[in-house]
Amino acid sequence: MSGTPMLRARGVGIRFGAVVAAADINIEIMAGERVSLIGSNGAGKTTFVNMITGYLKPDAGQIELAGRDITPLEPRTITRLGVARSFQIPQLFDELSVLENMLVATACHDNRLSFWEAARRPAAIDRADALLRRFRLDEHRARRVAELPGGVRKLLDIAMAMTGQPKLLLLDEPTSGVSADEKFPMMDIIMGALGHETSAGKMTVLFVEHDMDIVERYADRVVAFYSGRIIADGVPKVALATDDVRRYVTGELVQ
């Protein structure tokens, strides 16, 4: 929509000792885009996500959110600015019930922490339930999270990320560890849920993905990583067709 991109990375780079995890990454993502980050393991996708969310601090370059430099900020602050993420391994509150997990999420997001306001007040519960329904999690509502199957954990992880209606949503391998036939239904649920987001226009989504079918179906732009560098960037059809991608990512070309 507006001229300034939702996310802009300028010459971002980071290295762990000798390993270059990201080098001179330049990318602009406009509001409402559905971008998929692809690349073989260790290509730098998750590292990039971690740098956006402030978990890792780049050695070089800077990251802007809607024109604002967020490079030096703490994950918490960045989250508050409207960047939410899900995790490859779902990060949940195992001791709590599904509902309670959502209640924590909502309480944090709308920054309504208080000493006396009951966490279980009807208003909050309704909101949580609404989200749970949208992610088809309502039947697990009362269960202790530690007991949930992998797929459900993934969904809950994403649901919690979305409670704050973020401007930018980062999904780290949303379908990893989910059986092939569940993948599409799951992505449908996720993307369906995204669709509802209206308040700040269409939600911008970055998702790390290995399954190219999913990429082709759900992404309107693909960014391919290889050893910390971007080797392709464009609409799926084009990007996935480039030699580099076929050589280093999908492995269709063997050198």
């Binding site: 969310t53 990060q91 924590v104 208080s114 006396w116 306001e117 409670t163 704050g164």
Partner: protein, 304 residues
């Protein structure tokens, strides 16, 4: 509600109890407040091995308030104790909030021992012998030999009741829930925009307040204070009570505290030569077989 009713019942029961029992319960309830503070921290996943520090701070504050400032009202002194402990503890909160597990425990232990060393030194406050304070008044009326015991008992029970109620409200509040979340998964809390450090600091400061009140109440019933309030064995007992209670229930804390007092007092009058042995075995037994604390006896939630 029932918590209230229960407090009232206890206060009335106090009229029937023999003196030594009222005193024992008074002590248990007052010290229970300190353990309540530890419970607060436990919900956030850390345990302080130095709550003796806030206990002593509250105690000395009340004692000095009485002897130096001439402030004699029991209620006022109780609050004074709580607030002082809170104020002194606050500056350490940011530092402590960075640590977890054994490091948090050790740091707090070290702090309490530093305070202990200080108190030993200050001869104005009786050094290691400590000093006595006279009898407090309550709401302007003086208390006779006969009544003081029961009045302090009631005051302590009521204070404990109120604090229990408040902490119940806090535990059920959004912040309360967040605390439990923090213990579960700090990373996620941060990524939801919640501040782990803030939660930790708040709990530590609130714990200090509760502990300070406990210290003040103990000093007023005891009529004496000395640096041992801040000694590591004292802190150890507070931790034990919290563990014995388990982290789910507030009332369990006060029950646990009473149980410990009873066991200690009977073992030391029946086995004067081996009461430590008896107490030690009791501790082991509880830790071994009451894994989730007394609270777990009646709270059947699907939580580990």
């Amino acid at each position: 509600m029932i918590g209230m009713l229960f407090t009232v019942v206890l206060v009335l029961a106090g009229l029937l109890m023999p003196k030594w029992l009222t005193f024992l319960v008074t002590m248990a309830a007052a010290q229970g407040l300190v353990s309540l503070g530890i419970l607060l921290l436990m919900r956030g996943g850390v345990v302080s091995f130095g709550q003796g520090m806030v206990f002593a701070l509250g105690g000395y504050a009340a004692a000095l308030g009485y002897s130096r400032l001439g402030l004699t009202d029991a209620l006022g002194l109780t609050l004074l104790g709580g607030v002082t402990a809170m104020l002194v503890a606050a500056p350490f909160a940011p530092m402590l909030a960075r640590y977890r597990g054994i490091f948090f425990a050790m740091l707090t232990l070290a702090l309490s021992m530093v305070i202990y060393g200080l108190l030993m030194k200050i001869e104005l406050m009786g050094g290691s012998d400590g000093f006595n304070i006279g009898r407090p008044t309550l709401l302007g009326q003086t208390l006779s030999d006969a009544r003081v015991g029961y009045v302090m008992y009631s005051l302590t029970i009521v204070t404990a009741g109120v604090m229990a109620l408040l902490s119940r409200v806090y535990f059920d509040s959004t912040r309360g829930l967040l605390t439990v979340a923090v213990r579960d998964n700090e990373l996620r809390v941060e990524y939801l925009g919640g501040s782990v450090r803030q939660a930790m600091m708040i709990n530590f400061i609130l714990a200090a307040f509760a502990g300070g009140m406990g210290g003040a109440l103990v000093v007023m019933s005891l009529g004496h204070i000395d640096p041992n309030f801040s000694y590591w064995t004292t802190s150890g007992e507070f931790v034990f009570v919290a563990i014995l209670a388990g982290w789910q229930s507030v009332l369990a804390v006060f029950l646990a505290s009473t149980v410990l007092e009873v066991v200690r007092s009977f073992s030391s009058s029946y086995f004067p030569n081996t009461w430590q042995l008896a107490l030690g075995l009791f501790l082991l037994f509880v830790i071994r077989f009451l894994t989730r604390g007394i609270g777990s006896l009646w709270i059947k939630e699907n939580r580990r």
